[in-house]
């Protein structure tokens, strides 16, 4: 039996990275959840909160990437360790973009806050928001727990969210035709639907990165 050298410091650094991604993931989930809540129930302070959270995520991702580079330089990782670190950089970047999209949703709500949103589009977006929040949570946990099954599920979830987006698009367009005056604010509803769909895409990208990290195969 070989003598074991666990590379204690290196292991600790990898563990710290995972914790940082976990922390950023939690903040991103919160930012997204808050942004869709603002959309349903406008609160100016909450908009400011989401924007601040998005900035905080940016900063945390910056330090995460810096730490990853420093570990690569100091430890010269290979195999699954290298794949994990590379995945941390990519996942960090996706989370950062999701933070921006949450900020976009929060800001778009400002244009809709005083308007009465038609029932069907409202339901569509509520449904989409819940579904995307679930996808985001799945993506982050699939990565943190290296859960292949969960990562693979996200592919099907993506089809579902695309369908929801198409449905929302149809309902919003119909409402626009019915009441041309409403176009000025319904267009922001379209943006919100698009932002949510993009959050879903990013969650799928996190899952794809997870699959590559585990199997080294093209997802």
């Amino acid at each position: 039996m070989e003598k074991r050298y666990p590379r204690i410091l290196f292991r600790k650094r990898l563990k710290d990275l995972r914790k940082e991604v976990n922390d950023i993931g939690k903040l991103t989930l919160k930012a997204h959840k808050d942004s869709v809540n603002i959309f349903a129930d406008y609160d100016e302070n909450m908009v400011e909160d989401v924007l601040a959270t998005s900035k905080k995520i940016d900063e945390m991702v910056f330090y995460l990437e810096r730490k990853c580079i420093s570990i690569i330089a100091a430890e010269q990782p290979v195999a699954k360790d290298l794949r994990f670190i590379e995945a941390c950089i990519k996942v960090g970047s996706h989370l950062k973009r999701i933070g921006h999209l949450a900020a976009n949703i929060a800001q778009a709500s400002d244009y809709i806050k005083d308007e009465t949103i038609p029932k069907k589009p409202q339901e569509d977006l509520k449904h989409m928001a819940d579904f995307v929040q679930m996808m985001l949570s799945k993506g982050i946990h699939a990565f943190l727990d290296q859960n292949m099954e969960m990562a693979r599920e996200l592919k099907q979830d993506d089809d579902k969210v695309d369908d929801l987006f198409d449905q929302a698009l149809e309902h919003i367009t119909r409402s626009m035709f019915k009441d041309k005056e409403s176009i000025s604010y319904l267009v922001h509803l379209l943006f919100v639907a698009r932002y949510m769909e993009r959050v879903g895409d990013r969650a799928v990208s996190i899952a794809d990165k997870t699959i590559f990290m585990i199997t080294c195969e093209k997802p």
Partner: protein
């Protein structure tokens, strides 16, 4: 096309078995790295390829090593001729206590090349190939021992390639060198692979990833895994390889 093919190679020194059922094919004009913990048989393996173990008492070999299809342990093989085809560069630079010129010319003379013009031409070309010419062209008659460690190692490579071998075996050629000299040797390996087949033993994983196309991982005298270098370091198939390259044991 394979330059070297090793089949079921077992090597014993007295009762100790050093290599167990080693099978490997080394393609022509490529660099192959051998990695593994100390004492795993890497050096014994490359020394077996140019029959340097023959004179060690208790050395016993089973299996076959073919160089261009010819079994190198066949009684008809002239060992001096074999070593002309299979050159060796060692861990510690070991120039002869002679001038820079004589170090490179020595092998040529041993192999019967005495024409002054040819010797001069070959020495110059070898030093150029070893990326040393510019640094030593003004001091060819000075002692080789006055060169830096990195220069001495490149001189040893020049000495090896002067006799135009087919294979160059390198046993940790950079382990005694500073990072700049190491880079020069690695650049040189890149250049040399166009004409030679190179087998390099290294403890430096990053060096293996930088210089070689194929890598074999040795453990306890066996080859655990052989693969394209990129694959082996990104996606090792065997748990023992993964544990070794990620530093979980040594």
């Amino acid at each position: 096309m394979n330059r070297i093919e090793v089949e079921n190679l077992n090597v014993h020194f007295d009762d100790a078995q050093i290599l167990k059922d080693v099978n490997i094919k080394i393609p022509k004009n490529t660099v192959t790295s051998l990695i593994g913990p100390s004492g795993c048989g890497k050096s014994t393996f490359i020394r077996t390829i140019n029959r340097m173990n023959d004179l060690i008492s208790g050395f016993k070999k089973e299996g076959h090593i073919y160089l261009d299809g010819q079994e190198i342990y066949d009684p008809s093989v002239d060992v001096v001729e074999l070593r002309k085809k299979v050159g060796m560069v060692f861990q510690k630079p070991n120039p002869f206590p002679k001038s820079v010129f004589d170090n490179v010319a020595y092998g040529l003379k041993v192999h019967g090349i005495t024409d002054k013009n040819i010797v001069e031409e070959r020495v110059r070309e070898s030093l150029k190939s070893a990326a040393l010419w510019e640094e030593v062209k003004e001091k060819l008659e000075k002692s080789a021992l006055g060169l830096s460690g990195g220069q001495q190692q490149r001189l040893c490579i020049a000495r090896t390639i002067a006799i135009e071998p087919e294979v160059i075996l390198m046993d940790e050629p950079c382990s005694a060198l500073d990072p700049i000299s190491t880079t020069k040797i690695e650049d040189l390996i890149h250049k040399l692979k166009k004409e030679y087949t190179i087998v390099i033993v290294t403890h430096n994983m990053q060096q293996a990833t930088r210089v070689s196309k194929f890598t074999s991982f040795f453990l306890h005298g066996e080859i655990v895994e052989s693969a394209r270098t990129e694959r082996l370091f990104l996606e090792p198939k065997d748990k023992r390889t993964e544990d070794y390259i990620t530093g979980r044991f040594g």
